[in-house]
């Protein structure tokens, strides 16, 4: 058996075992129907109307997208975190397809066969779902974690994390975008995620216990010291680097050691192109 096949079988076995142990994603109240979608959209101030066929078409694409996410995580990270998969299954991605600068919903773009980033207006983009699944799993979210996201954007990332962790917070610096997105979680019944508009440089100082996961979309040459100070021991700060429409965004992961010194790791997983069979070379298991 060749190395790639060995990895795949191990990954599948590991995934099945983990699935038996992983807690379910946080439950949502009621089934996700067209009426539920339109009602939630209306409550969030983003009115839209779909036909039954349109809504059904979106849901029909979802299983294929979920399979793609699972395969992507397995091929790029060796396994698919069941909690991450459950979160992506639970959170309705079509709810986050909205062009805020035009006040226009685009649910028909959700779960597209070829994953791609989508412009949301105000200089923000909804990243492709494979990249978001990758970054979510790299964050290593666990139940009870406290997370902070600087750069709310669509709000999808914080929504996903909220299905896994204890509490998710998010800061958006662009005022019209932040004010609009701050209204979208409550209609879904997500009571453990909150956002604000403001300067993310100082983090969320009211959370005195610090954060397990901090995601920062920033272009500065240095990591804000106040944010690093709010990172718990053993916590991870994830900084994606690169323009938002590239499939190849690097992730820089910052951690603290026991002495409090900061370490960084450049995650290059986006270099993997499963279709060509290029994979990370890792040593044979002993």
């Amino acid at each position: 058996m060749s190395a790639p096949q060995l990895i795949s079988r191990r990954a599948l076995i590991g995934t099945a075992a983990a699935a038996a142990l992983a807690p379910p994603a946080r439950a949502d109240a009621g089934a996700w129907t067209r009426q539920a979608y339109e009602s939630a959209m209306a409550k969030s101030g983003r009115h839209v109307s779909l036909t039954d066929d349109q809504f059904a078409a979106i849901q029909a694409r979802k299983p294929a997208a979920m399979r793609m996410i699972r395969q992507y995580l397995v091929s790029h990270l060796g396994s698919a975190d069941p909690a991450v998969l459950a979160a992506f299954q639970t959170v309705p991605r079509e709810y986050f397809h909205y062009i805020y600068s035009e006040h226009r919903a685009t649910p028909g773009d959700a779960y597209e066969a070829t994953p791609k980033p989508w412009a949301l207006g105000y200089g923000s983009a909804l990243s492709d779902y494979l990249g978001q699944a990758y970054m979510t799993q790299v964050c290593k979210p666990k139940p009870g974690d406290q997370t902070l996201e600087i750069g709310t954007g669509s709000g999808f990332q914080s929504a996903i994390l909220s299905r896994i962790v204890g509490h998710a917070r998010s800061i958006e610096i662009i005022e019209p975008l932040g004010r609009a997105v701050d209204r979208i979680w409550a209609p879904l019944g997500y009571d453990n995620v909150e956002g604000r508009v403001g300067d993310g440089y100082y983090g969320w100082p009211e959370e005195t216990g610090g954060f397990d996961i901090i995601i920062v979309t920033c272009a500065a040459q240095y990591v804000p010291p106040k944010l690093l100070a709010q990172l718990k021991p053993g916590g991870r700060m994830i900084i994606p680097i690169g323009q938002p429409f590239k499939r190849g965004q690097f992730l820089y992961i910052f951690t603290k050691d026991a002495e409090g010194k900061v370490h960084s790791h450049k995650d290059v997983g986006v270099f993997f192109i499963p279709m060509t069979g290029a994979m990370m070379k890792i040593p044979q298991p002993s």
């Binding site: 412009a119 207006g121 508009v197 440089y201 040459q221 240095y222 499939r247 370490h263 990370m280």
Partner: protein, 817 residues
Amino acid sequence: MGPSQTTEARANIQKFFGSFFQKRTSFFPLFLVSLSAVGLEIALTRYFAVATWSEYGYWVISIVLAGFAFSGVALAVAPGFFTRRSALLLAWLPPLLVLAAAGGYWAATLNPFNPLQLQNAATLTAQLGNIALYYAAFLPFYTLAGLFIGLCFMANPGRIGLVYGTDLIGAGAGALLVLLLMRVVPPFRLVACLLVPLAAAGALRPRLPLLLATLAALGVGEWALLAHDQAQINDFKAIYAPLHVPDSRTLAVLPRPGGLYMLLDDFTERLDADVSNNATALGLPDPPKAFGFYRDGNRIAALPKSRIDAAYAPATLAALPYALLTHPRVLLAGASGGFRPAEAAALGAAATLVSEPEPMLLREIRAGPALPAGTRLTPDPPLALTGPGAHYELIDIAGDFADSAEANATSFAVEALVADLAAVRPAGLVSIPVSIREFPAYATRMLVTARAALLRAHIADPARHVLVYRSAWNVRILLSPAPFTPAQIKAARAWCDARSFDVSYYPGMDLAASRAGIYNDLPAVSFETAEVTSDNGLHDAVADEAGVVLAGHLPASARSFDLAPITLDRPALNAVLRLSRLDTILARLEILPQGEVGPVVNLAVLAQAVVIALLVLAVPLAAGARLRAGTDMGRACAFFPALGLGFLMIEIAAIEAASLLLTDRTLAFALVLTTMLICSGLGAMTAPRLPPAQALCASAGAVLLWCALMLAILPGALVAALSLGFAARVALVVFAVAPVSFALGMPFPLGLARLGAGGALPWAWGLNGAFSVAATPLANLIATQAGHAWLLYAAMILYSGAIVAFPKCHPPCPHPS
């Protein structure tokens, strides 16, 4: 002289000048159309630079020249149709041009083109459609403009030199006009201004319906562009977020030829220095808040809000040299808005000379808080300050120096580093920044450059004179005329360890042992194979190659990247892609840094240009015997393309040289373009007065001599001239470019005159335009991939070919004037 003789003399003088002005004013509309066409071209490149990114401006230029090529094809295929209607068309084209210019620009501003999506295969297709919309927007104007100019040629077959000269001088005047307008008019308003001279071309003829139509077109055009302006900055440019955060204030908007400068005050603005992640643990404060200074939507500096407290300075990546030296005398390349002199003073510099060549930054720094005592600020480039007699302990290049002005890239060239090494004392240091945020290969190339400089500075063992250290995102390379001592190395390692920085190379380094202490894991990725090899330990892609490079061997990344040293002949910092490996580049398009996208765009433009050129070349086959009759087609097919290519090769080479001399790329572009167009116009007007064959040989020979002279004296002469005053350097550019430009203007009308009247003349005009389309991206690719000298070599080959390919004519030859 008696009264009657005086009267007769006066009448003759009046007749002469009347004839002189009558001949020339009849071409005044041509002058105005050419002025507006070039002015609009420059205005559109400025629009692209501000609204999107400047590398897409090349596409604009190609569309411009494609329009001229298409007009030549139309005139060549149906010359009789157009000739019979030339008076009507020449009268009514100007108001149509006004509408086409206004409508095309307005349509372009509505185009949702997002160039960032070109780097993702999933979003690429839609953007190609948007690019096609740009063609639809701009081609009508430039096809009609080419039609107007071509008709002027066809209507005046006996005055080709005058027509061509008027066209060129008008174009030069357009470049000069836009340069002046850019000092007062924001980029998005330039097109509205250029509608006026365009309308004037139609208003000069004394016919009421035409005048009314022209005024109506102008009114509609101005209404569309001023009252319904849709132009805006792409919302993914750096300035967008700061403009839209709460309480954001725009303190100043400064239109300048060099760009649209904006000064912002908002909560996102801070000094953006590479600061240690352990700064808090070291008891050091954060970098201060600041104003943000932007050019064309890109942030070029932070400006201090008040007197600078640089207590944070010991935490910056750039601070190590100051820890290794005692009260150094420092040459700073780049002031970083004024923060770097304050940092140098806080770090113990005894005296600091600050080079800030970017004129607007210099202006803002002088208007800001006072600089520390012992600091002197100069607009002279660093290369002018490292001549004989200069003695520093430290030459420190700012991390944002390369980005603040394109011309600053020359400070990273081998020749500049050699001068730096000669200008520091034996125990001194040269500190060079490199960003590795997206491509560690840039650090490898800089090490190759540094090694070449050390060897050229007669240092036999370069590996002992280099120390490399880094953060997660940036590298600093230290060079020293003397070998690094164990004490210096120990101090550097301890300094970096306290700050979570990594030392990637020092003389005698044990590469394997050093891995254990890496703070910033940086795995190496093969651009070639899209693979990364990981042993689950820590990695340093910079360290992996530094020792190899400094030992004089080729590193692994040389297979994928062009790591040739940066030189004054080839100063582009973002030019590591091997375009010969286009298949690999396209496969990895999604991971390319934005700075590497320009050459790929150039290739796409070149491919389009080749198609257009072949189309125009094929016209004689389609047009039939009547086009080919009496025309030396074979030679014409070589002669006119050679001229179209050769002119641009020399123009680009002259712009690059002027950019080095003036340290201002925009000024260099405007000055060279204006001089070349006006002087070549004068040459075109002079050509018909001389015997054709001799005139061609003399002009082409002058071009060859000029190229040979430039190859012999550049770039050494440019570096030597950097010490001259600014006015003297401007004069030097004009006097260097003017003579060759005069010669460059002569061959084209001489060749056109050999084609006689009929369809061959506009076909040759279109052919020249088509190969000019190809010449711009081709010249830029040659400059970035092979170096500026190769532009001159190419020009020499082309003009030698032009001499050989000068069309013969079947007797009787038409007299050129």
